[in-house]
Point group: none
Chain length 182, copies 4
DNA sequence: ACGCCCGGGACGTCCCGTTGTT
DNA sequence: AACAACGGGACGTCCCGGGCGT
């Protein structure tokens, strides 16, 4: 059920996703939803975000560990995100961004869930950069995360992977230069 | 009315914004909404996006032209966006992103409006970079736009301007290096 | 629509009456209800109570004026209420009591509407008693109203007019004695 | 559990009282409700009514027996009811009336339970009046019960004990006169 | 006797869009 | 241009009841 909700929230955002749709698509009984998530839609969103965040966190970790070179690893992450986006016909971008933009302003709980997911990704990236011997890894991690998020947004909207590719090339260059200069 | 709608869409997204709210907040007569926008909510969103896009385009142009140095100019743009975000209590981020994420998937017209706005901003940035003598200005403009969009998303969600500052510092460094190396 | 709602509230009370039932039974469009009563169910109840109260007030006035003797007039009122109750198969008792008991505790607006209706009836009775030269008419009006309300409650519950008849006989005796003694 | 349910039904009526509320407020296990009351909400209401009825019956009996004078005894009963009402912030009126009005029409079992409770009270009053040597005690008991019920309804709705006091004074006068005249 | 979970229906709210009238 | 009124659908919430495994 969380998976179903997570997918729908990722694709449509918070307000465009009806609970009826969640239970219909997830073959779940309606009464159960209210039983498992007494907090209603808001709680479902919070837990869906955490679920999505962890899932992508794991994928991120695996991908980062798969490459010998730190720069190459980050490139693979972007490639992976692009592949997911393309395979879903440009529907599945960042699993947090849509909800963060259309619901975080009205629910502090949802906002905090989004912040937590972003923080987990960022610390993963920072750790990776630090291990690669890059100077200012913490600050750079924010930049990397922002760049990827922005590229996902543009790519999804344009239905075109070009922004992701451009960003990937840029990050490769950036980290190589940075790496050698520090 | 367009201004009211644009503000609400920017803050809440497409689905979270009701037409009743638009007409209530804009002191507009209800009956005339469908006179001016026969296409209903969708048309209102499309025109609001164009309106927001042009408005920000003008501000962008003015800010870019205000600085003698190209790199400094881009920094001012980011500072401006951060100021707008902070003054609105972290509600007004990118006027396109929220709608792009929560409505572009279901309405081609809205998607195209978002694409158009992004394209106008991108070409403005590209032109600016080209004038500054930066190599690969077109591709770099995508990166710049993506980075700013991502930083706005993170800053808004965290209610903290730090991501914008980090990105600004990074872009300054990047463009200075690039500019001299090309 | 008010009439339909008033009947249902009278018979079933506030919580047992669904708005769906009101619109179904009243052949009214659903959107209209929300248009005419933006306050929702609560506002509908408040206005229904006032409507019922006025209607019965008029009937009361007419009946009280129809008899030459003051005591006889009050007897006719009770007879009328009994007739209404019996004709509705013991469903239509006091149009206020049911709602007063099951909703006044949670909505101050509804409580006030009930209080207003009771006050209007009481003042009508008091005026009548005063005109009949009965001492302590104001205080006696409360007693008369309470007795009638209680008898309606018992009669409705028992599906038997006996309580109304007993009360009628008692009130006749009481007012005759009082009238002569003062 | 019965006590909890009885209190809630008394205050809110049948339809406004949810079973969830009963089990929550009564710290009772949810699963066992349908073990003890296989008939569901209806059975719970029936038994709650009997419980409330017996409880008040006992209090009535004790109060009636506490006074040397029959008339004074009845006054004490009304005073007691008024005290209960006031102490509950005008929420706890007659434990039967609310349910009788909002559920008796749709459930014969509940209606019968209400009738039985009223009958038990009435016979208690009748017996008391008979012992006091009052003529027509049976018919007078109906009147007394109706008057008290009506006064409780008015007092609860108005959040003011005045109706009870008025009724008390009237009943004192009535029974004194009656008592001496018969 | 009890707790977990399911099942699905109904509630009140509120929505978007369209009439007919002025 | 504007407005009142309609029309009905969908939302999220919450309910009452019952099956299952102790």
């Amino acid at each position: 059920m969380l998976r179903t909700a997570a997918t729908l929230f990722r694709t449509q955002g918070y307000h465009a996703t009806g609970l009826n749709q969640v239970i219909a698509e997830g073959r779940a009984p309606k009464g159960s939803l209210y039983f498992h998530f007494p907090g209603g839609k808001e709680q479902l969103a919070v837990e869906s975000l955490a679920f999505s965040g962890n899932e992508l966190c794991a994928a991120l970790e695996a991908t980062l560990a798969s490459a010998p070179e730190p720069v190459e690893a980050l490139g693979r992450v972007i490639t992976l995100l692009g592949a997911v986006l393309e395979e879903s016909d440009f529907r599945d971008g960042c699993p947090v961004a849509t909800v963060a933009l259309d619901a975080a302003a009205q629910s502090e709980a949802i906002r905090e869930a989004c912040v937590a997911v972003y923080a987990s990704w960022e610390s993963l990236i920072a750790e990776h950069l630090r291990a690669a011997g890059i100077a200012g890894a913490d600050r750079m991690a924010v930049v990397v995360l922002a760049t990827i998020e922005g590229a996902l947004l543009l790519a999804r909207t344009r239905r075109d992977l070009a922004p992701l590719h451009a960003v990937e090339a840029q990050l490769r260059l950036l980290l190589t230069t940075e790496g050698s200069s520090s």
